[in-house]
């Protein structure tokens, strides 16, 4: 089949949608579901701006097809603060000036969340390894590491 009706849980909501087999998950999330917090930064799966949680683990949504996600559970950056109350991690990013343009930030937050969910007290090395798949062109990473460190004490 070249398209299929998929059932996918996104940020807690069960959604049914017809998708073309070739549709990348990131375009499904951004264009079809209007969840535009997840971003596209490259063509080759290198930048991590599209990072979300896929069945509980950090994954690059530009390297997944929407059709594969039938039955999957997805969490995007929008799930962190559904009522507008920033989580300690989000607040820490702001407090530590861990974002400038904000384009890599959703991906960074999801990678950081994935780390802290598994390991609430990571070392600096573990933090750096956790965001290795997320490129930032503005901050130079130091403040991002500090921001994550600050909520992992």
């Amino acid at each position: 089949m070249t398209s299929k009706r998929i059932t996918v849980t996104v940020n807690g909501e069960v959604i049914e949608y017809d998708v073309e087999a070739r549709r990348l998950l990131v375009h499904f999330i951004r264009d079809d579901l209007d969840l535009t917090g997840t971003h596209v930064g490259c063509d080759t799966g290198n930048c991590g701006a599209c990072t979300l949680l896929y069945n509980g683990v950090a994954a690059k949504s530009c390297m997944l097809l929407a059709i594969q996600a039938d039955g999957a559970t997805i969490e995007t950056v929008e799930s962190l603060s559904p009522d507008g109350e920033l989580t300690p991690l989000q607040q820490s990013f702001s407090d530590h000036h861990a974002l400038q343009c904000g384009y890599c930030t959703p991906g960074m937050l999801m990678s950081a969340k994935h780390l802290l969910d598994k390991n609430p007290h990571p070392s600096e090395d573990e933090i750096r390894k956790a965001i290795q798949g997320n490129i930032c062109r503005c901050t130079g990473y130091v403040n991002i590491v500090e921001a994550i460190k600050a909520v992992s004490k």
């Binding site: 070249t2 087999a21 070739r22 799966g45 690059k60 390297m63 594969q68 990678s111 290795q132 798949g133």
Partner: protein, 272 residues
């Protein structure tokens, strides 16, 4: 960045997957997608049908066979390998591939079946003397590591076939050493060694398939002293015909092969 039209199927069993793969010349297995989806985005290759292996639980997991051997399902992800203790070198190497997101999805089966010359597992598994179980319409067969890797992007798992598992024989004194593009990046030269009676040494990124450093293995014999290992590596580079590219000249790759082969053997020696 955008795929051509493609058909998609999601079989519930290995048998069904094989039937689907055999039914269409343009059918390809979709494992973790960390290579294939990128290839399709670039439109460098466009399969007609994607056969998604995600529901094939039979292909997942690491099993300690009790006799020292370890069996790894082809769909085991790098993250799952890194969390497993059965044969520590596997997890260690898996943990250096790319980044967390890639490791959460990418599989050992994908790594070996795509057989990009810069992939980590081909030389490692050659050094470990792994055996590869392939299932197709004609049945199942087991192939040695030396026979599995045939050429760039080419393995013994042919059209209509699936690699189902990789079996690692008993051992444990394994080493791996690499020079990569940035930390945890793509290999420029890689080397793997396994000591089990004698030495098995495989060099990656210097040819289409991993190269066994047989002369070095013979010269090492049973003398694993640092001195002898270093002496044994001399001349290895001259036997190789590696490519030159923007990352390294052929000569530098030859030099790296000798340096990393020594490091891999010495690391293997240290592992208990």
């Amino acid at each position: 960045m955008l795929l051509r039209e493609v058909e998609y199927v999601r079989p519930a069993s290995v048998e069904e997957a094989i039937t689907l793969l055999s039914a269409n010349d343009g059918a390809r297995a979709l494992a973790g997608g960390q290579t294939l989806v990128n290839v399709m985005k670039a439109r460098a290759a466009s399969p007609d049908v994607l056969v998604d292996l995600q529901d094939l639980g039979e292909l997942r997991g690491v099993r300690d066979l009790g006799n020292g051997s370890v069996e790894i399902g082809a769909m085991t992800t790098y993250t799952e390998l890194a969390a497993d203790d059965a044969r520590s070198i596997l997890g260690e190497v898996a943990g250096t591939i790319a980044d967390v997101q890639v490791r959460n999805r990418g599989t050992i089966g994908g790594n070996v079946c795509s057989n990009d010359p810069t992939n980590h597992f081909p030389p490692l598994l050659v050094a470990l003397g792994a055996r590869f179980t392939i299932r197709g319409a004609a049945g199942e067969r087991e192939v040695s590591a030396d026979e599995f890797f045939l050429g760039v992007y080419l393995t013994a798992a042919g059209p209509g076939e699936l690699l189902t598992k990789i079996t690692i024989p008993p051992g444990g004194q394994d080493g791996f050493s690499a020079v990569t593009i940035g930390r945890d990046g793509t290999g420029i030269v890689t080397a793997a060694a396994s000591l089990n009676g004698g030495a098995r040494i495989a060099i990656g990124c210097v040819d289409a398939v991993p190269v066994r450093a047989t002369a070095m293995e013979e010269r090492i014999g049973h003398d694993l002293s640092d001195e002898n290992v270093r002496a044994a590596a001399a001349g290895l580079g001259a036997t190789l015909d590696p490519p030159s590219d923007v990352h390294a000249s052929a000569d530098y790759r030859r030099h790296l092969a000798e340096v990393l082969a020594v490091r891999a053997v010495l690391a293997a020696k240290e592992r208990r």
